[in-house]
């Protein structure tokens, strides 16, 4: 039998946790998606339907590059928006292109029944042990939480580092070390170590720095390549960045009922996918004194488009500027930078005016 070489689409910094599940839980080789480049998106766009959302295209491009890098087993997850149908179409397109790979589609599993995921994992490696995979998944969840905590800290401080690139460097080092973690105890130590390192980084933070909150669609907001490193671009201007949306908050510890209650002045019903979280966090950022809000999504993302009229009302009520970014395969850096510059100038001017 050929060796099982598994790939999972690149998704923010979380692939380290996925790698752990595949190596330690499934006893398989893990093929990391090559770093996303322009070529990834070009490949994905070429073989994707025209107006599908951009994450579909990134994922498809990534699969093709991973197959070329040796992967023979691909995983796709499911979700409550178009993501729920990604897998079956990805599989079909790759098959039509002549790639002979095993495709494991978690959309076949059922979120209300964890055992059904076990059935899907079994398709990857029939010899898998329930205990092993459970342990690996539990540790992976903890890893995700640690990644999210570390990145939250970086986001809020990277704009003020005295030596350019210090946080980036530490971040990379952290993710690299995370790959060698075997249990909770090691993870805890690593987390402590890196928080210490991060806090030791020299920052030049003013007393009342400008704060900006990010809201928006799941993939594009978390995947820095997809959003053209928008967070970093903005942070570099000396801004504290808040972004609640991550896996810890939205999947591991979501508080759906509370969120629903807290937005009832704006939305009576769940408007689908991440829209409730977008609305909730926009309100929170406005209340917490953020100077502005950035809404990020891929082109045509229906739930986020439907959240936009609500965001417009929040913007009026709290007198907070909101800028809307929609990313597709045509988006250019220049267009984004111009709009970010203008947005930055505006919030700076508002700050100056408030002082007077």
């Amino acid at each position: 039998m050929n060796e099982i070489k598994v790939n999972f689409p690149r998704f923010g910094s979380y692939n380290v946790a996925i790698e752990h599940i595949i190596k330690q839980g499934l006893d398989c080789e893990y093929i990391d998606s090559p770093p996303i480049t322009k070529k990834t998106l070009e490949l994905g766009t070429k073989y994707s339907p025209d107006f599908v959302c951009t994450p579909f295209k990134y994922n498809l491009g990534g699969y093709i590059e991973s197959i070329e890098a040796g992967a023979n087993t691909l995983i796709q997850i499911g979700g409550v928006c178009r993501l729920g149908y990604y897998g079956e179409l990805h599989e079909q397109i790759l098959k039509d292109l002549g790639y002979q790979v095993k495709f494991v589609n978690m959309a076949n599993a059922d979120f209300s029944n964890p055992l059904s995921f076990y059935e899907e994992f079994k398709k990857i490696n029939p010899n898998l042990k329930l205990k092993k995979i459970t342990q690996a998944c539990l540790l992976a969840i903890k890893m995700v939480e640690v990644i999210d905590k570390v990145e939250d800290y970086i986001r809020q401080n990277v704009g003020f580092e005295v030596v350019d690139g210090t946080f980036d460097h530490l971040h990379q080092e952290f993710l690299e070390d995370l790959r060698d973690i075997n249990d909770k105890k090691e993870l805890k130590l690593l987390y402590k170590l890196y928080m210490k390192k991060l806090k030791r980084v020299e920052v030049n933070k003013p007393k009342n720095p400008l704060k900006v909150g990010f809201v928006g669609e799941y993939y594009t907001i978390m995947d820095q390549y997809s959003n053209h490193y928008l967070e970093k671009e903005l942070a570099k201007k000396g801004i504290v960045i808040y972004r609640w949306m991550n896996i810890t908050n939205s999947i591991i510890k979501p508080q759906v009922e509370e969120v629903k209650k807290s937005i009832k002045n704006y939305a009576k019903y769940n408007m689908g996918a991440t829209s409730m979280f977008t609305i909730k966090k926009a309100i929170d950022y406005a209340k917490d004194g953020c100077a502005g809000i950035i809404h990020v999504k891929s082109f045509g993302c229906t739930p986020e488009i439907d959240a936009m009229p609500v965001l417009q009302r929040i913007s009026e009520d709290y007198k907070i500027p909101i800028i809307y970014f929609s990313f597709d395969s045509q988006t250019s850096d220049i267009g984004i930078n111009t709009r970010i510059e203008a947005f930055y100038d505006m919030i700076m001017m508002r700050k100056e005016q408030k002082k007077k």
Binding site: C53, Y86, Y266, N270, M271, A273, G300, T302, I305, R313
Partner: protein, 310 residues
């Protein structure tokens, strides 16, 4: 009290149910006119730029009804029952979207919410709405059942009519489109007219035994999550042997259709197929040319096949 019903989206699926229900309860209603340039313009102005054409049209119809009635009727649907199945989030969100777009106007909205997965059935939704309308439970129940019967009869008649069309000796072109797109006078009807002018018979995928269609859909695609698309996909499987070609119609940039139609093109190789995307731009020349060459090709192929058989 007058209810204003927007002639868009779910109207085309439920109008017999709604209209009969209101009539039975003695409640007056008006329906916005067929989509026209003005309605389209209003929708484009008020809806978010990136929304799908169909939801812009919906917004235009709501806009038309403002100040012409006491309540605008905006029901929403989250799920229709099957496990792991949902409807496009547009239908989950539409009530709140309209509410927020027109917050200044403080619209009075009549609504119901269906979420069968969470036990909010259609019957419950109508009972609640009836209570809001000031009717007693017995009245509402009766109106609902009469309306359900009328809906059933209407569907049977539509199916029967289509059965007759399927016997036609003309080329039969199956149209896979959400009813709110193909029945829309402004964006959908020109397609039907063109097909008829070309001497072919349009067959509508949305006129189907919905339950049967949903059941068979998984044989085409196992994980398809959207109820309305499932019905269309199943309908295609049910009609495929009785038709000569398939036209996929969707509105730009429809989320579910963007994936599902691609899947159909890849999995349904046995019949000629083209895809038309409605973008609300004026002028139908492009669509006509494409349909003309599509139907020509089918015709030629069919003649050739018949020739070979003889």
């Amino acid at each position: 009290m007058t209810i204003g019903i927007p002639r868009a989206f779910l109207y085309y699926r439920y109008h017999v149910l709604w209209e009969t229900f209101f009539e039975e309860l003695g409640i007056e209603y008006i329906v916005s006119p067929e989509t026209n340039k003005e309605i389209m313009k209003r929708g484009t102005i008020h809806a978010i730029d990136e929304s799908c054409l169909s939801s812009k049209i919906y917004t235009g119809h709501v806009d038309y009804l403002i100040d012409k009635c006491d309540y605008i009727f905006i029901p929403r649907i989250s799920s229709l029952g099957e496990h792991k199945e949902f409807v496009c989030s547009k239908f989950q969100a539409i009530y709140d979207v309209i509410k927020n777009i027109y917050r200044e106007k403080d619209l009075k909205i009549l609504y119901y919410s269906i979420d069968v997965v969470n036990k909010e059935t259609e019957l419950k939704a109508f009972l609640k709405m009836g209570k809001f309308l000031g009717k007693n439970k017995a009245q509402v129940l009766k109106a609902y059942y009469v309306a359900k019967q009328a809906e059933k009869t209407h569907k049977m008649i539509e199916l029967e009519k289509q059965k007759q069309l399927l016997k036609s000796s003309k080329l039969k072109i199956l149209i896979i489109s959400h009813p709110y797109n193909i029945y829309d006078k402004y964006v959908g009807e020109p397609i039907l007219n063109t097909i008829k002018e070309l001497g072919a018979e349009p067959i509508l995928g949305c006129v189907t035994d919905e339950k049967k269609a949903r059941e068979i859909a998984h044989t085409v695609s196992a994980t398809l999550p959207w109820t309305f698309n499932k019905e269309l996909v199943g309908s295609m499987a049910l009609y495929k042997d009785q038709i000569d070609g398939i036209v996929l119609v969707s509105s730009f940039p429809c989320g579910p259709d963007s994936l599902v139609n691609e899947m159909l093109i890849r999995r349904f190789k046995e019949k000629p197929m083209i895809s038309l995307v409605l973008d609300g731009q004026e002028g139908t020349a492009g669509m006509e040319t494409r349909l003309e060459s599509f139907i020509d090709i089918i015709r030629l192929r069919k003649e050739k096949e018949e020739h070979e058989r003889n």
